[in-house]
Amino acid sequence: MEILTTMVNLLMMTFRLSIPIALAAIGVTISERSGVINLGIEGIMLLGAMGAVVGSHIAGSAWIGLFVALATGVVVGGLYALFVLGFKANQSVIGIGLNSLASGLTVVTVKSIWNKEGISGTVDQLETFTVPLLHKIPTIGTMMTDQSPLIPITLFVSLFAAYVLGRTKVGLRLTSIGEHPLAAATAGIPVMRYRTLAIIVGSALAALGGAYLSVVHSNLFVNNMVAGRGFMAIAANILGGWNPIGALLASLLFAFTQALRFQFSYIQMPEQISQLIPYVITLLVLVGVGRKAKSPAKLGVL
């Protein structure tokens, strides 16, 4: 029975740790399926985390904070689309610039509100929920107790994104744009509009992932609290084969390596090694799969 409890705890911790990476990774997948690379995901997550804290601080509700984060993601995604699609700037460079901008702007904003360097005051945190009745089942019941509402939301987002990309007209058109934008344009698909939409949706999901870190997982903003999860999301998208469900599974795998360390402290896996694993796996998969990678044919090419 004790083993079962440990397994359940490990599973739930994996879920919790995977949420920010998974949401951002699905966002990356949507954006890259249309052929647009967004290296600024890390920065967008940071801005989302900050937006959520500011929203929660002003409105006194973490739910409002989540909506502010989504709105932040939409605005930043719109600006990214304007520069990359409208002004034809290099995608990688704009992404790097966005990361630098976000790492500075978040701290500057937090200081202007709370007058503290690199850390905000505490704000309203999203309440957990407990499933009625089901939570009374022994062992399994803990999975239904005090859980974050974002766990089912993330699952839903992943399934819904997979459905839209794979089974609807909008999704298939988006994929065709990523594979061959000229052909898509010739077929009468408004390439720019689809790409803008994909960037904005991807950016909003990444911002939501960042918001999870600040108002769901904790109740304040800390300097650089995203700590590489944006880049990990880009890796998860690759490992997941540019597919929303794959991205979710890859994020779960990455989160699992972190959870193992917390859950079984006697393994004594150094922190750095457990953080290394996702990047090493992704690099090996990239090199192993090589030219046969399922990446959109015209990724990064406008």
Partner: protein, 354 residues
């Protein structure tokens, strides 16, 4: 919609025009940040005055600015070198960690009795080799497998930073130290200060010298010519007899060596030891610097001094005006975005004249 895989950003525009756009992008970024400060209730004029005092207001301030500029010159040259060859080296962060760590460990392991004029170059060389491997690997993967070098570089950045962090914490931690860092290097191996009581060391001369080497390579060598050809048009270069795979690997290896020097000379100059996580994104700043400098050594050095002064002055600005010292990251980010978007500047200019 024309597919283009390379960054021929340097070659396309006329020199004066690109210089003009670069200046406008910088001015525009400063104005935008002034507006942000105004909106947040700070006085931007006082803030910028404090920034200037903190970066150029005294001998100490100037030496701090130059000290911050040294690693930026190295990474600026590194990114510029790769861009000339049509590649985007965002792996500078990983290369400088590998370089700094390898050279520090080599310096600590070498027998104490060894004369410094042998051990110091040996340690520096070891670091540069590590940087070459870390950079060359990106080139090899790109040339052989056609995998986007940006993605590979991101993975290698994290792997390098986490690996060095692991080794410092586990095996090379200084005795009795609270922060993860190696023992201090033997006194003879630390580069001498240029200005007393500052962190500015003779590594500045090495950075400037590498600028001259960079200029010489592109001006006077066949290799430089081949790199340029590769960057301007890879298929034409291949047809014209350039060994594209070999040149791609070499470009990234040399770029990695240049970037590693940023870490190496932070170790032997500024800090005198390897400190876990010492780089505040130096490798990424190098991208901004290479773009502002348009890949030219003098431009890169001036741009590095500009960003060095931002970092040096931000502290003073924070102390005097209460603005977070991280404001330099905001300016830097905006400069990167606007420099990379000449079309945006063009759009603004056309609107004004219309």
């Amino acid at each position: 919609m024309k597919p283009k895989g390379t960054f021929n950003l340097f070659a396309r525009r006329k020199d004066w025009e690109s210089l003009w756009y670069s200046l406008l992008a910088i001015v525009f970024s400063f104005l935008l940040v002034a507006l942000i400060m105004l909106a947040m209730g700070y006085n931007p004029i006082n803030a910028y005055a404090a920034l200037f005092r903190g970066s150029f207001g005294s001998v100490y301030a100037i030496s701090l600015t130059l000290c911050r500029s040294v690693p930026l010159i190295f990474v600026g040259l590194a990114v510029g070198f790769a861009l000339k060859g049509g590649m985007f080296n965002i792996g500078g962060e990983g290369q400088l960690y590998m370089g700094g760590f390898t050279s520090a460990v080599t310096a600590l392991i070498l027998p104490q009795g060894m004369p410094v004029f042998i051990s110091l170059p040996l340690a520096i060389l070891a670091g540069m080799v590590a940087g070459m491997v870390w950079g060359g690997a990106i080139g090899l993967i790109k040339a052989k497998l056609q995998i986007n070098e940006v993605i590979v570089a991101i993975m290698l950045n994290y792997i390098a930073q986490l690996l060095t962090s692991f080794f410092v914490n586990k095996y090379f931690m200084a005795k009795g130290s609270m922060t993860p860092q190696t023992e201090i290097l033997p006194a003879g191996m630390q580069l001498p200060n240029i200005v007393a009581n500052s962190q500015l060391t003779t590594s500045l001369y090495i950075a400037l010298f590498m600028g001259v080497v960079y200029w010489f390579v592109f001006r006077h060598t066949v290799f430089g010519y081949e790199v340029n050809a590769l960057g301007n048009n890879p298929s034409a270069a291949g047809t014209g007899g350039v060994h594209t795979v070999r040149t791609t690997v070499l470009v990234m290896a040399f770029s990695g060596a240049l970037a590693s020097m940023a870490g190496i000379f932070e170790v032997f100059g500024t800090y005198g030891r390897f400190i876990d996580g010492f780089s505040p994104g130096i490798g990424f700043t190098g991208i901004a610097i290479a773009f502002i400098g348009q890949g030219k050594p003098l431009g890169i050095i001036l741009a590095a001094i500009l960003f060095g002064s931002l970092q040096a002055g931000a502290m003073q600005m924070s102390l005097m005006e209460g603005v977070s010292a991280h404001i330099d990251k905001v300016i830097q980010g905006l400069v990167i975005v606007f420099i990379a978007t000449p079309n945006f500047i063009r759009y603004l200019l056309n609107r004004k004249t219309r």
